[in-house]
């Protein structure tokens, strides 16, 4: 079990995270927050790249920083932005990383073949990565994170650059992997985690706001999400009155999804809230700013 215990991180007087307390056991955890909320900072602390200003991170009761290479031995990490050696092929790059991960040469060979097939790169396994697309590089990144069959797999924005087909394949892969390990998946794309995460963690104002199952998190907005079809000229007024979650054009009208504390009109249809609705609701200030 991985425990984040009263962890804070600040740079001088600038505080990024405050008193974070999270427990991770086997399963997929979706770390959901807009960009700049501190997801990557938390992940970098979980991967020993950053040191907490306060608090501790324990794996099975031992501080991960004092565990050193024993901890990193069970860690797989895909950073949000990562580089690669342009003159290396995926196979050569993975061989180098397996050496750094202390994997036996023969075992590494089989594992690399297996992973290259899994991420669909077996046909370009020996081509130089310099000319690879963003999606192909991302798949190399996913493969390297899984090289050592990690007990803790941490993926920061893993689906960036992947096409819809690859995203589905990736989600299925994660579901399979999560049976026997902790998978922490940081994203600002709700659909990445909505269907597969056992728990969703939302960070707001430097603190953990929610940590619960998607079903329970959705309950936050239970009975408050509605849909309505309105004429185009009414949309503007509606926007002023309610917080719009989504807008969709349908024939000659607009279908709006919005939040209201109570049902004020019979034409409103009550719908089940989704994680995306909660995300929009929780981070509405950030959403408005970004918009």
């Amino acid at each position: 079990m991985l425990i984040v215990n009263n962890v804070s991180k600040s740079y001088g007087k600038f505080s990024v995270l405050e008193n974070i307390n999270i427990e991770f056991s086997k399963g997929i955890y979706g770390l959901l927050a807009p960009n700049g909320a501190g997801k990557t900072t938390l992940i970098k602390m979980l991967t020993t790249l950053l040191f907490p200003s306060e608090g501790e991170i324990l794996y099975n009761g031992t501080d991960i920083f004092s565990m050193g290479d024993d901890y990193r031995d069970i860690l797989g990490y895909l950073p949000q932005e990562f580089g690669y050696y342009r003159n290396y092929s995926p196979r050569k790059f993975l061989h180098y990383l397996s050496a750094l991960k202390g994997i036996d040469r023969d075992k590494a060979k089989n594992r690399i073949d297996e992973l290259l097939k899994l991420v669909g790169l077996e046909n370009v396994a020996d081509k130089k990565m310099g000319k690879f697309s963003g999606g192909m590089i991302q798949r190399v990144g996913i493969a390297q994170a899984m090289l050592n069959n990690p007990k803790i797999l941490i993926l920061d924005e893993p689906t960036v650059g992947l096409d819809p087909k690859e995203r589905v394949r990736f989600r299925n892969l994660l579901t399979e992997l999560s049976r026997e390990r902790i998978v922490i998946l940081s994203t600002h794309i709700v659909s990445d985690v909505e269907s597969i995460a056992n728990e969703i963690i939302m960070i707001k104002n430097k603190k953990v706001l929610y940590k619960d199952s998607p079903k329970n998190i959705c309950k936050i907005l239970s009975g408050k999400v509605y849909e309505i079809e309105v004429d185009f000229d009414q949309v503007s007024n509606f926007r002023k009155e309610y917080f719009i979650l989504s807008e969709r054009q349908e024939d000659n009208s607009m279908k709006l999804r919005f939040i209201s504390e109570e049902k004020k009109d019979d034409s409103w249809t009550a719908v089940n809230p989704t994680i995306e609705d909660v995300f929009m609701h929780v981070y509405k200030d950030e959403v408005i700013k970004e918009g």
């Binding site: 790249l49 031995d73 990562f82 580089g83 050696y85 990383l97 397996s98």
Partner: protein, 419 residues
């Protein structure tokens, strides 16, 4: 895949490093070739040494005298045949035949006369050695150095003490007869300066440039490639920095060896030192100016060359350490190299600002930056600021300890640093 081997391949894959290495080898070769016009003159001394040995003693002088007189007779046979004239020396011959040699003498004869002229130079110089050394006053030389550098107070006392100590060594040198050995005539050919100043200094700067570049390049490689998050979260993790330092040292050793080997191979192929390897470096003939080169220890040319090469390797290690510490502080290689150049300049200029009446003035000399500036006077009586018997050893030892401590602290800090 071996991690360290892979780190080594990163160095080999750098076009800048390989390009510079080739450029430096070519530059060194050109420098050596440019000075090779007098290589045939040097062969004459080798022939003399092969006949009479290099040690100048009464027996050797008598045999050389006999040989020289025989050759003068041979010269006169030629000149009598061609011009019906006789000469007591080659210099007298040249005075008389400055303009019309070409038409009168054959190529073979001209070569004979030229070579005899070289032998004559050595023969007459031998006769002056004792008198020259009897006029050398080491204590006075110390006072001259004190005046030259404007030293006073404790600084001047320190220099006096050093020259007093060197004076004992000077008398030992005379007793050993180290000065009375034949070597390429320094006043004419300046071979010591060519090898230990021009070539060695160039080699050292080339090695320093490459060592600093390689170290900065390798230590910051992951940050340059943006692979630091992937690499430093692997099992090997931040310990990789130690592998990188080891490979930087090995690569720098290799590069230094390539540069030294290519330059010296070419040098000793062109300039024949075959009979002179064991000649003491303090030989009078090595002197290029009025004051001869005198080493703190009795050592042969071969030993001096070997020790100088060792100092080059040691300097390379020190600069690798300096570059490692800089690389840990500065992640951009270009800025890192620029900062190194500034540090280099500061270490050479700042000591000049220290008052010249305290012993602090000498601290500035005990740095690798100052050490590599004058490789031609390593292990020798030198200018005031670095005339210490163990100057080279002290500088290398102090900085080795200092850089080892700083490197260990730097590695420890890296292990506790946010990436």
């Amino acid at each position: 895949m071996n991690v360290r081997m892979n780190e080594f391949k990163k160095v080999l894959s750098s076009p800048i490093i390989l390009g510079l290495l080739i450029l430096f080898i070519v530059f060194n070769s050109i420098t050596i070739f440019k000075s090779s016009y007098f290589k045939d003159d040097l062969k004459v001394l080798n022939e003399v040494v092969a006949k009479f040995g290099y040690k100048i003693d009464d027996e050797m002088v008598n045999r050389l005298k006999e040989y020289y007189e025989e050759q003068i007779n041979r010269l006169n046979e030629i000149t009598e045949k061609r011009t019906a004239k006789r000469y007591s020396s080659v210099s007298e011959f040249y005075k008389d035949n400055f303009y019309n040699m070409e038409d009168v003498y054959s190529e073979e004869e001209k070569m004979f006369i030229r070579n005899l002229g070289i032998i004559e130079n050595y023969y007459y110089e031998i006769g002056q050695v004792d008198e020259l050394y009897s006029n050398i006053d080491i204590i006075a030389k110390g006072e001259y150095e004190i005046k030259k550098y404007g030293l006073s107070g404790k600084a001047a006392d320190t220099v006096r003490n050093q020259y007093r100590e060197f004076n004992e060594r000077f008398h030992q040198l005379i007793r050993n007869g180290e000065h009375k050995n034949l070597f390429f005539m320094g006043k004419v050919y300046k071979m010591h300066s060519l090898l230990f100043k021009t070539i060695f200094k160039t080699i050292i700067f080339e090695i320093v440039i490459l060592s600093v570049l390689i170290t900065l390049y390798l230590i910051n490689y992951e940050f340059d490639c943006n692979t630091e998050y992937i690499i430093y979260t692997t099992k090997r993790g931040r310990n990789l920095i130690i592998d990188k330092l080891c490979i930087a040292i090995c690569s720098n050793l290799l590069v230094a060896t390539i540069i030294i080997f290519t330059a010296l191979s070419l040098y000793f192929t062109i300039f024949n030192y075959s009979g002179l390897w064991n000649v003491p470096i303090s030989s009078y003939f090595n002197a290029e100016y009025s004051f001869p080169y005198m080493s703190w220890w009795n050592m042969s040319f071969k030993q001096y060359l070997f020790l100088s090469i060792l100092v080059i390797y040691a300097s390379m290690m020190l600069f690798t350490g300096i570059a490692f510490i800089l690389a840990r502080a500065i992640k951009n290689n270009y800025i890192g190299f620029f900062v190194f150049a500034i540090v280099f300049g500061l270490f050479l200029t700042v000591p000049n600002m220290i008052p010249r009446n305290t012993n602090l003035i000498f601290i500035g000399g005990f740095t690798p930056f100052f050490l590599i500036m004058n490789p031609n006077i390593w292990f020798m009586e030198n200018e005031a600021l670095v005339t210490f018997k163990y100057y080279e050893l002290s500088t290398i030892s102090i900085w080795t300890v200092l850089l080892l401590i700083l490197s260990v602290l730097s590695v420890k800090r890296f292990k506790r640093q946010d990436i």
